[in-house]
Amino acid sequence: MIAYTIQRLLLAIPTLFVISLLSFVLIQLPPGDFLSSYAATLAALGEQLSGDTLALLRESYGLDQPIYVQYYKWITGIVTRGDFGLSLEWKQPVKALLWERMGLTIALTLSTLLFTWLLAIPIGIYSATHQYSPLDYVFTTIGFIGLGVPGFMLALVVMWIAFIYFGADVGGLFSDQYKNAPWSLGRVWDLLQHLWVPMLILGMEGAAGLIRTMRANLLDELHKPYVTAARARGLDETVLTYEYPVQVALNPFISTLGWALPGLVNGGTIISVTLSLPTAGPLLLRALQSQDMYLAGAFILLLGSLTIVGTLISDLLLAWIDPRIRLTH
């Protein structure tokens, strides 16, 4: 197990390097750069930037240098000083914009994950052990609705209901008074009060899918010969459900851990925009549109790295609970 852990950790280093390279290349891919799209925006407003000003700006941002030099400066800044460069659009260090957004995104992701698991696992187990019972049908129906209704639509409906009937604005993650306040206990409490709405909406689709997965996996597992064999040894049904098959049926849950974060950032962006959540998705979208390369690059790099870390954690967990994986490495 220790050797396996070390091996996986060592493997993560080159992967992270490739990810950083890819994120940088990716943000350079669209034709033009931040300045040309900035100039275009100004032109649309009727202002003209002279060629000289543009060249000057380009030089001061380092945009005139070859791409590998730009990459080298960027990555050494991150690794040695934790400096992600300057957001060209916001005229602020990326660092300042990044961490609160990332922190909130991670908090929202983890709580959504927790919510989906807490919902999906018990319901999945119930549905599998009570296959074709009335409640199983109810859960299945709700599940299909949950899978079919797009999240942003659900978000709109929830916001509308909350506004019409309760006069409450459930958008965002903070009340107005805390929106730009420094962190305090009050702000954390305020966050918790707002978190559950996006958590519910973001989690709905995932939970519906996971219930199906859990039910199918467990049904599969419950009919395996080793369960019947254990029954023939006199074990009772509770042990036959929980001790053996549930553990095995949970494996796919753990292996999706690594994808939870990018999944929520991708799929959650539309919902986040709808609910005006101050998370990474909307800001990344904006940065990509305006070609704010250092900001976009930082987000992509961090999301990629978190995916690697998530996958690493889920692989180690899997190896920990499943000896077949652990012992063949």
Binding site: Y226, T228, A230, R231, A232, R233, G234, D236, Q247, L327
Partner: protein, 352 residues
């Protein structure tokens, strides 16, 4: 038909002559019926099966694939998977304390039947390779059973487990107990499975084709092992197989099944020397034997196994029987044609 054709193969290894069925009955199965109520109709997987198991003796159950051998065994333990249902018959177990217990009337999830399973009646599965939990060690799985049925503490259970593993011939039992199933060879896994079955000193062992997945050498070793364990412990064994060679090696009495029904039951030498049912005779002719010239082709049983949803009326075997006479074979009765030899054939006596 010559008697030479149906000579039983010689018993090999440590095999002994079949023993008389003169010991007490420990399991009495009467007219057992288990049906599967499927959307496409009812499958009468077990339809009136009767036999007895005797202390220290082995009953062999033979028949082609799908004839209901496994479902019979599962019915005894009350572990028939849905939509299967026990629809008749009785299974009477004589417990260790001498009392009798009727098993089919018990709640299949209840405490009483659970205290019988794995404790008084052990079951070795048809697919031993998949009968172990992949995510627990052998030691976990065996001590779990021991602790469940004997209330032993962890250390005692571990000690007992090591003893059993040594008994089934696993070298270094302490090491094997810490292994996971996928780390053992097929032969070792089968020994471990047998060890788990024997962990609580069951009075009855039901072995469902325990050697089918093994190579011939390992098969012989495992059969020897089962025999010697029976000698030590005096277990009654119900040995399920479709291999008549194995039956000849191990059984004292044999039940032949066809389409969920019992067609013949006889002491083993009687069955090999004087089979009465045409199906038994056909099975024997299809069996490879030592001392036969290689160019002699084995005779497959003619025709196809009928659809289980649509069992032929009258004698279920009549569609494949070379002795079928229309009108005569409509309702064969199950008759004792000689002491301890029962046959379900309207032409029994004429066709032998």
């Amino acid at each position: 038909m010559t008697t030479e054709l149906i000579d039983p193969p010689a018993r090999t290894g440590s095999a002994e002559a079949p023993r008389p069925l003169d010991t007490p009955v420990v399991l009495d199965v009467k007219d057992l019926r288990t049906h599967f109520l499927m959307p496409g109709g009812t499958v009468r997987a077990v339809d009136g099966v009767s036999y007895t198991l005797h202390r220290g003796r082995t009953l062999g159950i033979v028949g082609e694939s799908g004839c209901g051998k496994s479902v019979t065994a599962q019915s005894v333990l009350g572990i028939v998977p849905r939509p299967g249902r026990n629809v008749g018959g009785t299974v009477t177990l004589t417990r260790r304390d001498g009392t009798n217990l009727e098993l089919t009337s018990l709640d299949p999830r209840g405490k009483v039947i659970r205290s019988v399973r794995g404790n008084e009646i052990a079951y070795i599965f048809q697919e031993p390779m998949s009968a172990l939990s992949p995510i627990h060690t052998i030691g976990h799985q065996i001590t779990e059973v021991i602790r469940l049925h004997t209330g032993a503490k962890r250390d005692e259970a571990r000690f007992r487990a090591e003893t059993v593993m040594r008994q089934v011939g696993l070298p270094r039992p302490d090491a094997v107990l810490d292994r996971y199933p996928h780390q053992l060879s097929g032969g070792m896994r089968q020994r471990a499975v047998i060890g788990i079955a024997l962990a609580c000193n069951p009075g009855i062992l039901i072995a469902d084709e325990p050697t089918t997945a093994l190579d011939v050498t390992t098969e012989a070793v495992i059969l020897d092992l089962v025999r010697s364990l029976q000698k030590e412990g005096g277990m009654a064994i119900q040995f399920i197989t479709h291999n008549l060679g194995v039956i000849a090696e191990i059984a004292d009495e044999v039940v032949v099944m066809y389409m969920g029904r019992q067609v013949e039951r006889a002491p083993v030498s009687q069955l090999f020397h004087a089979p009465q049912h045409p199906y038994t005779q056909a099975l024997l002719r299809s069996m490879p034997r030592l001392g036969h010239r290689a160019h002699e082709r084995l005779e497959a049983i003619q025709g196809m196994v009928p659809d289980p949803y649509d069992v032929p009326p009258g004698c279920a075997f009549h569609t494949r029987c070379r002795h079928y006479v229309p009108g005569t074979c409509d309702s064969p009765e199950y008759l004792e044609v000689s002491p301890r030899h029962w046959v379900r054939c309207s032409r029994a006596g004429e066709v032998a």
